[in-house]
Subunit: 207 residues, 2 copies
DNA sequence: GTCTATAACCGGATAGAC
DNA sequence: GTCTATCCGGTTATAGAC
């Protein structure tokens, strides 16, 4: 459960926040303890080291991410147009509720941090690679049928994912100038979903 | 000059690499010294502190980035279709030659690192904000003319930037599975540019 | 399970010789 | 400009009382 008040859970949630804000190397164990409102030694009692704590968080995050993709799998027999719209909406909704996930991954991804590499590899091998393959096939078939224009399926998937992630990656920059946007996040994300869906569907459908 | 062999330059280039790989907090002054093949004390001789060194790198990077946008400014009286294609190609070419820039920024962007915030703010105030405004106007006018479909101009710009950046952000993940792509980076980026241009132009042009 | 005290180490920074 | 030696503060981690 997300909001269980056990010491163990409090540490995990606090640690996630601190790792997002400071990165692995910038995160301080005493700051995690302070935010979780527990004694610093308790972190070592439940998790053995900073490394092990970080790995727990990564695994937990990927588990949520995977769960989200399973939802999409169930609707994979929709027609391609509805499927793409559903993917965009589900992905952005997920990110709205789990904004820490892309942040924490992109912070560590360039490090060759062995823990990060390991967890990503496992994630791909334990089902995610399979799901991506299904999407690729789906696009290739629609492309072959003439339901959509002929496109490079992998590039297309990258494009959708890129646009979905963008706001969550850029948020710190965007919020500096958010006064110029004058709308709240909910409104902005609604527009975002609409703009992406609009571009992709119009870009893919035969002329 | 990029490849000048002065001690000062060697430090800057080595530091850039180390900051990309390890982030600000993970970067070690002795590692920078080792890679630059200079004595550690020399870093403090030329740059006064880790903080000042980092700021130099950020400023240098943004200067290059700004120079790139000035090139685009000169072609802003092209028709919208050609302009968008030019932006995508120029941006990706720039990123191919300066892949460290988005990495270093996205590593620190969630930190509220005061140096990063300051440099970004200056960058926007010293001309970049102006250029973005010009693009927004350009899209709004084309949209009004009926040259392109009615779209949200800011969302559209975000979409293009998102797709351009994607490969360079995801590279560490993509390279883990690059055997499945079986093509080299040059070929891949050519396809990437083509796929993005294709999607955006088909997505924007009136049906 | 919780807390205090402290060990053991490491990294940024500087002093000062050459 | 370059190098060696070293200081000082802070960080992970543990020992051990309760």
């Amino acid at each position: 459960m997300e909001t269980q008040d056990t010491t163990r859970e409090k540490i995990l949630i606090a640690a996630r926040d601190v790792f997002v804000e400071r990165g692995y190397d910038g995160a301080r164990m005493h700051e995690i303890a302070a935010r979780a409102d527990v004694n610093k030694a308790m972190i070592y009692y439940y998790y053995n080291s900073k490394d092990a704590l970080f790995e727990s968080i990564l695994k937990d995050s990927f588990k949520r991410f995977f769960a989200y993709f399973l939802v999409l799998k169930n609707i994979a027999d929709m027609d391609i147009e509805k499927l793409i719209a559903a993917i965009i909406h589900a992905h952005i909704d997920f990110l709205e509720q789990n904004p820490y996930l892309p942040k924490i991954i992109f912070r560590e991804i360039h490090s060759n941090n062995p823990v990060t590499s390991k967890v990503i590899r496992e994630f791909f091998n334990q089902g995610f690679g399979e799901i991506v393959t299904q999407f690729v096939d789906k696009i290739d078939r629609a492309s072959g049928n003439g339901n959509i224009r002929p496109v490079d399926s992998i590039q297309t998937i990258w494009n959708v994912v890129a646009m979905n992630l963008f706001y969550f990656m850029m948020k710190p920059i965007i919020s500096v100038f958010s006064d110029r946007l004058n709308m709240d996040e909910k409104e902005l994300l609604t527009r975002r979903k609409q703009a992406i869906t609009d571009l992709v569907l119009n870009g893919l459908l035969p002329r």
